[in-house]
């Protein structure tokens, strides 16, 4: 199985927060019809939503038991708040970022890079089991770009990431499964 490719997305934080709040409110109210509309469910999924004891129950099971539901939320979140900016061509990028000694020897840079790969920084509905995701502010993204570009002898895929980060404005989401 080939390793997925990391992509960068610019994040509209207010739009993402609004989507998160809207989703939460629908779960609070257990408003099945509104949830079906929000996520654009077809007849089959809509029937499952209506049959569940509570709408939120559908997201309390592992994604393997509810693949379509989670994918739908990610799709709508992406549509509402994310814009694709760049995708690496190298499946080795994540491994380089996590392991390459030149990066790891610089503790501050390593922490920033780890933030880019830390799923705890990402809303639950954007995480994918076993996948990679992380979110950084515009300033953090610039810091990572500068930190990486200050190093010599980095692998080509990391150099390309640094160039991409340097060319982007705003908060960024790193993800391997949203395309």
């Amino acid at each position: 199985m080939s390793r997925p490719l990391l992509s960068l997305f610019t994040v509209d934080r207010p739009a993402l927060a609004a989507f998160e709040e809207e989703l939460k409110e629908l779960f609070y109210k257990d408003d099945r019809d509104a949830l079906i509309t929000l996520l654009g469910f077809g007849a089959s999924f809509a029937e499952q939503v209506r049959a569940a004891p509570r709408a939120v129950d559908l997201f309390l099971v592992p994604e393997s038991e509810a693949t379509g539901f989670y994918a739908s939320v990610r799709r709508i979140a992406k549509k509402r708040a994310l814009e694709h900016a760049w995708t690496s061509t190298s499946p080795a990028l994540e491994g380089r970022l996590r392991e390459y000694d030149i990066i790891r020897e610089d503790a501050a840079l390593a922490r920033s890079v780890d933030a880019l790969l830390d799923p705890r920084r990402v809303p639950w509905f954007l995480r994918r089991p076993g996948g990679t995701a992380g979110m950084v502010s515009a300033a953090e993204g610039e810091g990572i770009a500068e930190g990486l570009q200050s190093k010599e002898d980095l692998p080509e895929e990391v150099v390309h990431l640094a160039e991409a980060l340097a060319g982007l404005d705003g908060d960024l989401l790193c993800h391997d499964g949203l395309l």
Binding site: E20, K24, F27, Y28, D30, P53, R54, V56, D57, F59, L60, V61, P62, E65, A66, W124, R127
Partner: protein, 231 residues
Amino acid sequence: MGFFDKAKAALGLGGGAPKAAEAPQRGQHKDGRPPLRDVPKADSGGSLDDALAARDAGKHDEARAILAAIDRGKGLRTVLRAAAALEARDEAELEGLLPAIRASEPAWTLALQVAAALEGAPPASSLVTYARQVGAPAWALAWTRSATADADERRRGMVDLLFADPALARTVAARDWKVDKAADDRASVERYAGFAHGRDAIRRFGAAKVAELLSRARPDGSAPRAAEKKP
């Protein structure tokens, strides 16, 4: 004499008051009970489950003896020992245990375990308010919110927990809420066990009595000590 009989005798339980001719000896309380250091420790064979089983069977003296024997000076066993002392109106033992109750850390844990065990009944809301004041994390507040008989409030708690900590929410969904197809998330099982064990033991003991104990420990509703506040 068996373990329970020895423990009960050591605490002066079940054996009646000491005879007038038997003056308290060095190291003993005036009522004939020995100081805590003479009580058998947990490795003497009792367990928290033994104590709760004894209570379930109506053997409250025996339960108190076991709780005293296994008390390590802090934590859940001390809390339940103190609650049992409160129930038995044993002021001498209770007063000796209250400092440990007041010092339990983090302070929000016990308050929320009791609130969850109360399942929304009074004074759950005031315990939650207190827990929030002393820095309870979002996941703990959400989980407690879900532990109520009110269906709307319960659902809101479930939603809050999903948004605060999805891994824990899925584990709670599997174990507490019995959501169809839900499964433990390994990342959260240990945290689940840590909180749920206390909540379940308190519920089995009698949450109302433990709530009364907390009220007694913090009668002003509570000004947590500086050491209990989060930075």
